[in-house]
């Protein structure tokens, strides 16, 4: 729980106040925390691309949104990222469980894992890759960056880091 608590604390410190998620077992603790938090808005959504739309609307209404998802969700959302979030310069945080990285027991997750960083790079999305608990200290710098450059930013959380949180 320690890692999930730290991630949420840092996101909130960065002003993030509107959260959506498409579930992942590595995000389960974070979702539990968000469901109980009365200071922010939280909801699950069925699909990531739709979440990008809801987050864009939330930004128009003066919220600072975040969507929690697996890295597979980036694949589901490429057009929405480019032709909505980036076209209209909408700041948003992608909090991504990086399935398929070392420690992952499901082999089939490896395919998206191999291309996740390349997709983010192609999309030119500033990315914080978190492998250890100390990397989480940089979250606020990245959320501030999203607001300043009016852009999506991504926070990738390795399987091994998140697994530690669920033991």
């Amino acid at each position: 729980m320690k890692i999930s608590k730290k991630i949420i604390k840092n996101l909130k410190m960065g002003g993030v106040n509107f959260y959506l998620s498409v579930p992942c077992k590595l995000l389960a603790n974070m979702i539990k925390i968000l469901e109980k938090d009365k200071d922010i808005f939280y909801s699950s959504v069925p699909r990531e691309e739709e979440g990008m739309g809801i987050c864009a609307g939330a930004y128009l209404g003066n919220k600072f949104p975040c969507i929690l998802m697996q890295n597979t969700g980036i694949g589901n959302s490429v057009n929405a990222i480019v032709s909505l979030l980036q076209l209209y310069n909408i700041p948003i945080v992608f909090l991504i469980s990086y399935r398929g990285t070392p420690g992952e027991p499901v082999g089939a997750q490896g395919g998206m894992a191999k291309i996740t960083k390349d997709i983010l790079q192609t999309l030119k999305i500033p990315t914080l890759h978190c492998s250890s608990i100390h990397d989480l200290d940089k979250i606020k710098i990245y959320t501030d960056h999203a607001k300043i450059i009016e852009s999506p930013i991504a926070i990738l959380c390795d399987f091994d880091l998140m697994k530690e949180d669920h033991e």
Partner: protein
Amino acid sequence: MNRFKLLKTIQADLKDRLVICNIGLPSQELYKIKDQTNYFYMLGSMGLASSIGLGLALSQKKDVISIDGDGSVLMNMNTLATIGNRAPNNYTLLILDNESYGSTGDQNSFTGEKTSLKEVAIGCGCKKVIECDATETSDNLRNAIKDKKNSYIIISKIKPGNVNVKPIPLNPITIRDRFRKFLGLVSYL
């Protein structure tokens, strides 16, 4: 009545509302009738007008109307479940159902065959779902906005057909910022 004529009949209902308008001809026709700063024209991301409006309605108190099409709702049908479970009372989704993909050359959509968006929306948990003729749309929209206790989905059955319009000349950041200025969030315009 086609989309252009229908959009003309609801001009008074859209006044001072936060309007999220679907990509392509719906936005271009709305722009041609009369451009307003409280209109957010979508220039990309087909399917997401309903979702953008939902996020906006959840984030502030003013009334929000998403103007969507049958093809776009079919593309992002999962969001009807989110609307059924989470839509606040200031949210109205107006689906202009012409049973075709108007912006891409009037190809037939499934709402002209076996699919009923009304039944889908009800199945998704949406309580106030109205399917109506084009001529009843303005009255239904006005009543939906007036009702402060419920969100609505209005499916307006219209005829296919488009008018000759040009792409919207506005820069996306201009659309964004004048819309946010209407909400009191931008001071520099």
